[in-house]
């Protein structure tokens, strides 16, 4: 188990190092000068030069890369060009929206997908199974921003139960936060739940056709008992993989939903930073997301080992 963990950890570090090089240089070659965007069309050459010097943009690229990476290792993400505040603080502020939103949406996804998937698998071929498969097919096909706009129309404009968007802030209390995150979380969760339910169902069906289930049935277990006691745990590996991927997606991929509900999350921060050429922010946030994705994969791999003891030996 220790060796397994160590090799996984080493590959995590290596991926991060490679990612930092790719991210930094890919973003720095983008055309567009941050200083000239900040000062606009009437800026004079001397003011532009003064601002570039202030931002450290007159340094060579490699020196800036090294400074950035050393900073990251010490937990210093640098200072945003446009906002002139520490990037770390901005990320923390935005994570206070994106992380709860992602967890909320993931929670909804699991709560919907597990029962639906298991129920459909246990009634394979029935009318219920077929209609659930049809519905989940629809859930996968509907774009989440369209569904989001539909919900705004119904719940915010007509019924006025929720506001059309915005984030109340943690100062306003848990209830207010949940209220502002509910519509976006549902919009994000619906397609994910459809995907996960389908994966859950097919993974269970695969397992149910294996020999050890037949043995279990032969021992006298009912179909339902075999499913709950033996099949479920074995079917969890593909499901966990998908959940891990979904979490990364929900954390980083909420850009469109954050725009529809004008939530100040990480996705919108990246979006704004790219168009303002706030390179420090883009690099640091992308790096953080890469880290999150790699970390989630690492944790999922550890979870495989917990679920399936055979993997530990490797």
């Amino acid at each position: 188990m220790l060796r397994y963990t160590l090799t996984r950890f080493l590959s995590l570090c290596l991926s991060l190092a490679v990612a930092s090089v790719v991210i930094f240089f890919a973003i720095e070659v983008l055309p567009g000068d941050p200083a000239s965007i900040m000062l606009g069309v009437n800026a004079q050459p001397d003011t532009l030069a003064a601002l570039r010097a202030e931002l450290g943009l007159d340094q060579p690229m490699v020196a800036r890369y090294l400074a950035w990476v050393t900073g990251l290792l010490q937990g210093d993400f640098g200072i945003s060009y446009t906002y002139r505040t520490p990037v770390a603080q901005m990320i923390v502020d935005r994570l206070a929206v994106s992380l709860p939103l992602a967890l909320y949406a993931l929670g909804l996804t699991v709560v919907i997908a597990f029962p639906v998937g298991i129920w459909a698998a246990s009634r394979r071929g029935s009318v219920g199974d077929v209609s659930i498969m049809g519905l989940t097919q629809l859930g996968v096909a509907i774009p989440n921003f369209w569904f989001a706009m539909l919900m705004v129309l119904v719940f915010a404009i007509n019924l006025q139960w929720f506001s059309a968007g915005g984030f109340a802030g943690w100062d306003a209390g848990l209830f207010a936060v949940l209220k502002s995150l509910t519509l976006p979380a549902v919009a994000l969760a619906l397609p994910q739940a459809s995907i996960l339910a389908r994966v859950m169902r097919s993974a269970l069906l695969d397992t149910l056709s294996e020999d050890f289930i037949r043995t279990a049935r032969a021992k006298g277990l009912s179909r339902r008992q075999a499913l709950w006691r033996h099949a479920l745990r074995n079917a969890l590996i593909p499901v966990l993989t998908i959940i891990g991927m979904q979490f990364s997606f929900l954390l980083a991929g909420g850009i469109i939903i954050e725009n529809v509900f004008y939530l100040p999350g990480l996705g919108r921060l990246i979006f704004q930073a790219i168009s303002a050429r706030d390179l420090v922010v883009v690099e640091s946030v992308v790096m953080l997301l890469v880290f999150a994705v790699i970390l989630v994969n690492f944790l999922v791999e550890l979870a495989y080992a917990a679920v399936d003891p055979r993997l530990r030996a490797r």
Partner: protein, 491 residues
């Protein structure tokens, strides 16, 4: 029975509740300011929040674009037009309690024109030779040449008064002299201003104002309909305006900005260095089709590089009337090979992207074949506007007030090099007799129209959607600002 009465009382209380609470206002804006210092960035979003509300200058703009006294209650101009003596309003305090005095004016102006200044409009201060404090309430500004526009320049958001005591944190905790103090900023979401109880002038009528930032047009529509915001300034979805107009719960205000929207042609390179080709383009353009198609019918056609609501504006649209036959004849006269292939670079704003498609179709009808290239704002600034001027055609709205003078610079992205025009503009700069100035400005406008420097399209409109009952909003936008000092709910 008893419970019925209390239920009725509750209903009354609930109905009265919102009316009593209407001393605050939520204003929707599309762009969030990067920080709160209007003197060190070009972001109009900063002025949109703080101009006139938090920060004030020596002079200030009115809704009609007029220049009015601000922190300077009056001024004397010397005979030679070189010395301005400003008499400051007495008893003005910054929000941190320190006094506003002549030394603060010296500090603010010297900071803006200093060597390491990062002021986006540093040119406004280029004519200043020295600034001295005569006494705490009097400031003497000496110019190197007479400047008829000096008071106008001092009204810009980039020329507001700041204090040395609070300059360190101006970007996150702005301290000005205005009728509102900076309250709270939930980054990415909203900024709240509070009424300044110790304001030196007419106090604000609102107790607080919240600016909410909603960039997506559909979300802006939803926020307005759901009642999340009371006012949306520069409403980004013009296609929804008729719906608000028909709804008694809302008012739609249609005004003007300072944005001359033009089809810029690169005068410095082939084929648009040839005036005949430019003239052909001008006659190929059907302005009304563009206004209808790209702007949903809102926008005033312009025939030169000047705001139509300005008293000195001359209507020159007739010089470039829509006449495709004439355009074809001009192209033939110019001797260019048809179809004439050119590149049309379009920045992100919808007037450019939508307008570009329509313009391209109009140009194709006369034999000019534009290849559309959509670029990001950063790329547009870098390649089209700033460095290489690598473009043939582009669409852009010039939103600074009185920016006709920028075309006098042959190195400007338009590449228009006409010494006679530059001379007129130079005269305007130093002329202080209003009548002569007006004549010169008209002359300058006519030169631009007759040289077909660009395809002059329309003046960018300003749409504001407000809940019924909100009064005192600016209808026009002579400078980027949301002046809330006179805004209130109808009683």
């Amino acid at each position: 029975m008893k419970s019925k009465i209390s239920a009725a009382a509750l209903a009354v209380a609930l109905a009265a509740g919102p009316a009593l609470a209407q001393d605050g206002l939520t204003v929707g804006l599309q762009l969030e300011p990067p920080h709160m210092d209007p003197t060190s960035a070009a972001a109009g979003a900063i002025d949109q929040v703080v101009y006139a509300n938090v920060f004030e200058g020596l002079t200030r703009f009115g809704s009609d674009g007029s220049v009015n006294p601000g922190l300077a209650s009056s001024w004397d101009i010397s005979e030679d037009g070189l010395t301005y003596t400003f008499h400051l309003v007495e008893g003005v305090k910054f929000h941190d309690g320190t006094d506003f005095e002549a030394t603060d004016v010296v500090f603010s102006l010297d900071r803006a024109r200093g060597e390491d200044s990062v002021n986006a409009q540093k040119a406004l201060f280029a004519g200043i030779q020295s600034v001295e404090a005569v006494d705490p309430a009097t400031v003497k500004v000496t110019l190197s040449a007479p400047d008829g526009m000096f008071l106008f320049k001092m009204a810009w958001g980039d020329a507001v008064m700041v204090a040395p005591e609070s300059i360190e944190d101006i970007k996150t905790a702005p301290v000005g002299t205005g009728a509102f103090t900076f309250g709270n900023w939930v980054q990415g979401d909203s900024i709240t201003l509070q009424k300044n109880a110790d304001y030196w002038g007419e106090p604000a009528m609102l107790d607080s104002a919240t600016f909410k930032f909603i960039s997506d047009p559909t979300a802006a529509f939803a926020a307005m309909m759901a009642g999340d915001v009371d006012v949306f300034v520069a409403f980004p979805a013009p296609e929804n305006l008729p719906q608000f107009d028909a709804d008694p719960r809302y008012n739609v205000l249609i005004g003007n900005t300072e944005g001359e929207t033009i089809l810029a042609m690169n005068n410095a390179r082939e084929p648009f260095s040839n005036k005949l080709v430019r003239e052909a383009v001008a006659h190929a353009i059907n302005r009304q089709d563009i206004i209808d198609g790209a702007m949903f019918g809102y926008g005033t056609p312009i025939g030169t590089f000047f705001a139509p609501h300005n008293p000195d504006y001359v209507d020159l649209t007739g010089l470039s009337n829509y006449d495709p036959e004439k355009a074809k004849a001009l192209l033939e006269e110019a001797g260019v090979a048809l179809p004439l292939k050119v590149k049309m670079t379009l920045p992100p704003p919808s007037y450019a992207r939508r307008g570009g498609e329509i313009l391209a179709a109009q140009l194709r009808a006369v034999g000019i074949e534009p290849e559309i290239e959509n670029v990001e704002w950063a790329q547009w600034l870098e390649n089209t506007f700033r460095n290489a001027h690598d473009y043939d055609l582009t669409i852009i709205s010039h939103t600074e007030p009185m920016d006709i003078s920028s075309l006098a610079n042959p190195d400007y992205y338009t590449g228009y090099d006409n010494p006679a025009f530059a001379e007129v503009i130079e005269k305007v700069g130093v002329e202080s007799d209003p009548e002569v100035r007006s004549e010169l400005l008209k002359q300058a406008q006519t030169m631009l129209a007759e040289d077909y420097v660009a395809g002059f399209l329309f003046e960018l409109p300003l749409h504001t959607v407000a809940k019924t009952g909100v009064e005192g909003l600016w209808v026009n936008m002579p400078t980027q600002a949301t002046d809330l000092t006179a805004v209130h709910w109808a009683k």
